[in-house]
């Protein structure tokens, strides 16, 4: 049995506009999500995250490529695995004139889930007391909670969450984060698509970053953070003079917006100390700067955007 819960190979999705134009939303994407844990699915707006999720769930047809869920090819074998999957795709969509409870009851009945599970799901997401109100009267945060409650009806092995904390207040975000982490620890595989990178870094064990429909990086979060140049923050009384000295010694130096310190790309603090000391500049602090997911994400996506733009220009030039 495959250890991958989600696997896509050469996945592609094209949209044709009414004027005959072609837009590629997902381009030759190979996605592999291992069993267990929380897997982040990151990418800028329009990078193809939601389209990929919609294809996996059978809501959109792939133009090319193959997909597997729990080792079963989808969409052909989707009916065999859909009961093991809970999903929130984009904004929560329910019947606006039905209450939250009615909406959940209908979904639960369609898969033969007992009514007690509806009450339990409502309680889990903290909607008790408001579940008899109409869905259209809910705030965005309440709608998100109801969508998460719907995913819990199936007691899923795989949870696919597309921006689940969208519209939630800080307390709500924390609750959902704890719920996701808890589910991951209980063996549920969670695919978490989000823009809030700090959230992703806190709960995810692995991540995939995509841009312009292509995969840019994938792997355990710790490994993703290890790449790229090491840097350190240098606090000195005269940053301008220190900048000049370090530049002269061949270091790559940048000045953060506050202007009170310097960021030096180097993995050798003793060498930085020595160069500044020889110039008579004494350090008040030297702090290693650890990369976070946001910086990795921005590096990858900005480089990809630049490459994509240059690629378009080059294509245009050859024409």
């Amino acid at each position: 049995m495959s250890d991958l819960v989600i696997e896509t190979t050469g996945l592609r999705k094209e949209f044709r506009s009414r004027r005959g134009g072609l837009r590629v939303a997902v381009n030759d994407l190979d996605l592999a999500v291992p069993r267990g844990g929380v897997h982040g699915f990151l990418g800028p707006n329009g990078s193809g995250k939601t389209t990929t999720i919609r294809m996996l769930l059978g809501l959109a047809r792939a133009s090319k490529g193959s997909m597997e869920l729990f080792g079963h090819p989808v969409p052909s074998a989707l009916p065999q695995v859909i009961d093991r999957i809970g999903a929130v795709v984009e904004s929560p969509k329910f019947s606006p004139n039905f209450s939250g409870h009615q909406n959940l009851t209908l979904l639960a009945r369609s898969i033969g889930v007992p009514k007690a599970r509806v009450d339990a799901a409502v309680e889990t997401v903290g909607l008790t007391g408001r579940d008899r109100d109409r869905f259209k009267s809910y705030s965005l945060g309440m709608k998100q909670r109801l969508a998460i409650a719907a995913t819990l009806l199936k007691d899923p092995e795989l949870l696919i969450l597309d921006e689940p904390t969208n519209g939630l207040d800080p307390a709500g975000i924390r609750e959902i984060r704890d719920t996701i982490r808890d589910l991951g620890e209980r063996g549920v595989t969670v695919l978490l698509s989000s823009h809030i990178l700090a959230e992703v870094q806190q709960v995810c064990t692995s991540a995939t970053i995509i841009g312009n429909g292509r995969m840019l990086a994938s792997g355990p979060v710790d490994e993703l953070l290890q790449g790229g140049p090491a840097s350190m923050r240098v606090d000195v009384p005269d940053p301008t003079a220190a900048h000049r000295v370090l530049d002269g010694a061949g270091f790559v130096v940048t000045t953060p917006a506050d202007g009170a310190s310097l960021l030096v790309e180097s993995d050798d603090p003793s060498r930085v100390t020595q160069v500044l000391g020889e110039a008579g500049i004494w350090l008040s602090a030297l702090t290693p700067v650890r990369r976070d997911l946001e910086s990795v994400f921005l590096e990858l996506t900005e480089a990809d955007t630049l490459g994509h733009t240059l690629g378009h220009e080059a294509t245009g030039a050859t024409r």
Binding site: R54, L57, G58, L59, A60, R61, P75, L78, P79, I82, I85, A87, V89, S91, P92, K93, F94, S95, P96, N97, F98, Q102, N103, L106, L107, R109, S110, I111, G112, A150, K154
Partner: protein, 314 residues
């Protein structure tokens, strides 16, 4: 599948717009029946006394010359002339088939069609279709469950209301000691059954179109256009009346109808008119009308299922 049917039936029951339309399907035929019963009520004694007083000179003339007033016996003069003055028409079931009976079928068909289209349109409009498919991904089953619920509900509502309509009129006629010829009630109930089957099929068609267009407004627009302009366009294009939508409806509900055709010029110029090609009035049977709408329903239904199974769901 049974679970899915129960869910769709509940979804239909909980939709307020559908409930309002079904409530209208109860209220409107009831109002039509009530109005008819009131309009055909026997005159009261006061009405008769007033009419007798007003008609006294004419009754006297009638008694002198009964033949001029359409009666042979002078003893019948009072009844004849007073009847004119009270303007009272007795309830005749057979006659009502082509009058209020048609109106009831038309109203019920319109209402169940609207119920069918609004039921499907709401799923697309609210975006809840995608959520439903996350729980039951076999789209063909989802379509079939919804369609079956629309078809059965529409048929039951139409059949119950139209049968109740005719039975109520029959009971009123009996209570008024009016003679109802043998077989008339059975004919009326058959008429109701044909109307109910047509109404349910029309509701299914409206549902299928909405699943195809993914919009109630588009469906209502197309149906409105067909009803309003269909026959006019056909006429403008010189297409035979045999293909007019309303003629085929009439053929189904009335168990056959007749339509006019333009016959060749020689039918008028070459001596005596002979042969079927010179008949200006042709028969359009129940089978013809059923085939006409059956093929249309099959076409729309097939297109609807295929696109629902293949197209991306927003």
């Amino acid at each position: 599948m049974r679970q899915l049917l129960a869910v769709e039936l509940t979804r239909l029951r909980w939709r307020r717009a559908v409930l309002l339309l079904l409530a209208a399907a109860v209220v409107v035929p009831t109002l039509i029946a009530a109005t008819l019963i009131w309009d055909t009520r026997p005159p009261s004694q006061d009405d008769l006394d007033a009419a007798r007083a007003s008609a006294a000179p004419e009754i006297a003339q009638c008694e002198k010359r009964p033949g001029r007033f359409g009666v042979e016996d002078r003893a019948l003069c009072e009844e004849q002339v007073v009847g004119w003055y009270t303007n009272s028409q007795p309830l005749k079931l057979g006659q009502q088939r082509s009058e209020t009976g048609l109106a009831v079928v038309a109203v019920l068909t319109l209402l169940v069609m609207l119920a069918g289209t609004t039921f499907a349109g709401h799923d697309w409009n609210s975006g809840s279709m995608s959520n439903q498919l996350l729980f039951e991904s076999r789209r063909g089953r989802v379509w079939a469950a919804k369609a079956l619920v629309v078809l059965v509900t529409s048929f039951v509502v139409s059949a119950v209301m139209s049968a109740t309509y005719w039975l109520a009129l029959w009971m009123v006629a009996r209570s008024r000691d009016l003679k109802v010829p043998d077989g008339v009630l059975a004919d009326c109930l058959e008429f109701a059954l044909r109307g109910s089957v047509f109404g349910a099929a029309a509701a299914l068609g409206a549902f299928a179109m909405t699943m195809l267009f993914r919009s109630t407004v588009a469906t209502v627009g197309v149906l409105f256009g067909v009803v309003l302009a269909g026959s006019l366009i056909f006429a403008a294009l010189g297409i035979s009346e045999r293909w007019f939508p309303h003629k085929n409806v009439s053929a189904i509900i009335k168990d056959g109808t007749r339509y006019y055709v333009e016959v060749p010029q020689h039918c008028f110029t070459d001596g005596p008119i002979e042969g079927s090609e010179c008949d200006q009035l042709r028969e359009l049977t129940l089978v013809d009308g059923s085939l006409y709408y059956g093929v249309l329903l099959l076409g729309v239904g097939t297109a609807s299922v295929l696109t629902f199974r293949r197209r991306d769901v927003p």
